[in-house]
């Protein structure tokens, strides 16, 4: 499936905005991404396996609240940096 990568994380993906990975859950997809792009997962997922405060993960148009969210092979995932900062 396709995962959309925000600009803040493209230093990990060689500046690619869309990458491919497989998994049955959001957690599995992020683990697959981290194997290919080491370090990416920890920037968006805490050591307690929660999504960081200013990060949102959408599966198609639905927000995934945790890593257990189930996926279908044709789902599209977007990692989004929340509208915050300063």
């Amino acid at each position: 499936m396709t995962i959309h990568i925000p600009s803040a994380l493209r230093s990990y993906t060689g500046q690619k905005s869309d990458v491919e990975a497989d998994g049955r859950t959001v957690g599995e997809v992020l683990s697959a991404l981290d194997r290919r792009y080491p370090g990416l997962r920890f920037r968006i997922i805490t050591e307690q396996d929660t999504i960081r405060a200013h990060i949102r993960i959408f599966v198609n148009d639905e927000q995934a609240r945790d890593l257990s969210a189930a996926l279908r092979p044709d789902d599209q995932i977007s990692i989004v940096c929340a509208l915050s900062g300063g």
Binding site: A8, G39, R43, T46, Q48, H54, C81, S84
Partner: protein, 387 residues
């Protein structure tokens, strides 16, 4: 085992100095020549990353570690082994242990402090975090593990308090100091949570709180209420430490455990509140502070809008105001706890970065000052690398 001989050469340094600057929006190098008269500011490194600390490794003289996060992304550590030309991210950044199922575990918000290990432990580094945690790397900062038991110890967790007990952007573990005579002798400080010492490589820790004041009405016997801002060990006499605390300036001469409030000798109109503390590389009687306004609601700016460094040459018995070339009025900045440092030249060079993004330097131990850079982002840390 400790000995009385200091491990640091008393000879002054003579090489070129590079000032390493961590800011709220990236890192910068100020590269100087041997005379420390000519400086060149680099382009920003990691522009947009929040850099709490950027530290040079004096053991191999080529490694640097940088503590980073951004407003959105989690904390990490970047490493360079070629004096900052190229950088690699830590494979395993500092992180708390995963909590058992059903319990809330802690999450590192940012890595706040970095300290190279003892010279006999060439790959060792320590890191302090917010919320407060103590971590160690054995491989030059590539991988990190919790160090000792304190991160999950019930008593230490009580002393660390909650996010409401610390500084506005989170309580911080800082001032990790390794005795140059003994790698097993380590200090750290928690803001808030007090000063702590281990003489057995982190197997056990003991608070050192005697003589330290706390905010009126609180119990000084409780570590939670102590707020050390910055601790420095004198390299020329590792039995002497200086401390800038929320409640004053102190000196500790070991083996005593009794801090002495040498800030009582500061001018009353200035007070003895501040963030940084700097010690002389070869004279344990000489130290510098940068006072700030700790009255009323604690503005945390230069008292009266008139910045000044204060220097003691007699271990805190008297203090001298040093402000030549600083703004004479309407300068409402201050200097954060790891944003002031010294080089090892003769005379000693001093460097600090301000909350308003200026870098100031003195080639004369503070007698006269020059502004080396303006208009940088808010400066969080200033360290030197002598090459």
């Amino acid at each position: 085992m400790r000995s009385s001989a200091p491990s640091v050469s008393p000879r002054p340094a003579t090489g070129a100095v590079t000032v390493l600057i961590g800011t709220r929006k990236g890192a910068f190098f100020l590269r100087g020549d041997r005379s420390r008269r000519t400086w060149k500011l680099s382009h920003p490194l990691f522009l947009g990353q929040i850099v709490h600390h950027l530290v040079f490794d004096p053991r191999d003289r080529r490694t640097m570690l940088m503590a980073c996060r951004t407003g959105h992304l989690g904390p990490t550590v970047f490493r360079s082994t070629d004096l900052g030309r190229t950088w690699q991210e830590a494979k395993t950044p500092p992180a708390f242990a995963k909590a058992p199922e059903g319990r809330n575990g802690r999450v590192v918000d940012h890595v706040f402090w970095l300290t190279p290990g003892h010279e006999r432990e060439p790959g060792a580094w320590y890191a302090g975090t917010s919320p407060q945690g103590l971590f160690r790397s054995e491989d030059g900062g590539a991988t990190w593990e919790p160090f000792s038991y304190i991160n999950d110890d019930a008593k230490y967790r009580e002393w660390m308090g909650t996010v409401q007990d610390g500084t506005p952007d989170g309580p911080k573990l800082h001032s990790i100091i390794v005795d140059p005579r003994d790698p097993a002798h380590v200090y750290f400080a928690m803001s808030g949570g007090g000063v702590h010492e281990s003489v057995d490589g982190g197997k056990t820790w003991t608070p050192i709180l005697q003589g330290l004041d706390v905010v009126e009405g609180f119990d000084r016997a409780t570590a939670t209420f102590h707020d050390p801002h910055c601790i420095r060990l004198c390299p020329s006499n590792p039995d002497r430490l200086y401390q800038q605390n929320h409640c004053g300036i102190y000196r500790l001469d070991r083996p005593s455990n009794q801090w002495m409030r040498i800030g009582k000798n500061m001018p009353k109109r200035i007070g003895d509140v501040g963030f940084p503390m700097v010690v002389h590389p070869r004279d344990p009687d000489t130290a510098w502070v940068f006072p700030m306004d700790g009255t009323g609601v604690w503005p945390r700016v230069s008292p009266g809008g008139k910045p000044a460094v204060y220097k003691t040459r007699n271990a805190g018995q008297t203090w001298v105001r040093l402000n030549k070339n600083f703004p004479k009025s309407q300068a409402w900045w201050t200097v954060k706890r790891q944003a002031m440092t010294a080089d090892a030249h003769e005379p000693v060079g001093l460097y600090f970065g301000t909350t308003s993004g200026e870098v100031w330097a003195s080639r004369t131990g503070g007698e006269t000052w020059t502004c080396l850079a303006r208009h940088l982002p808010e400066i969080y840390s200033v360290e030197t690398a002598e090459l």
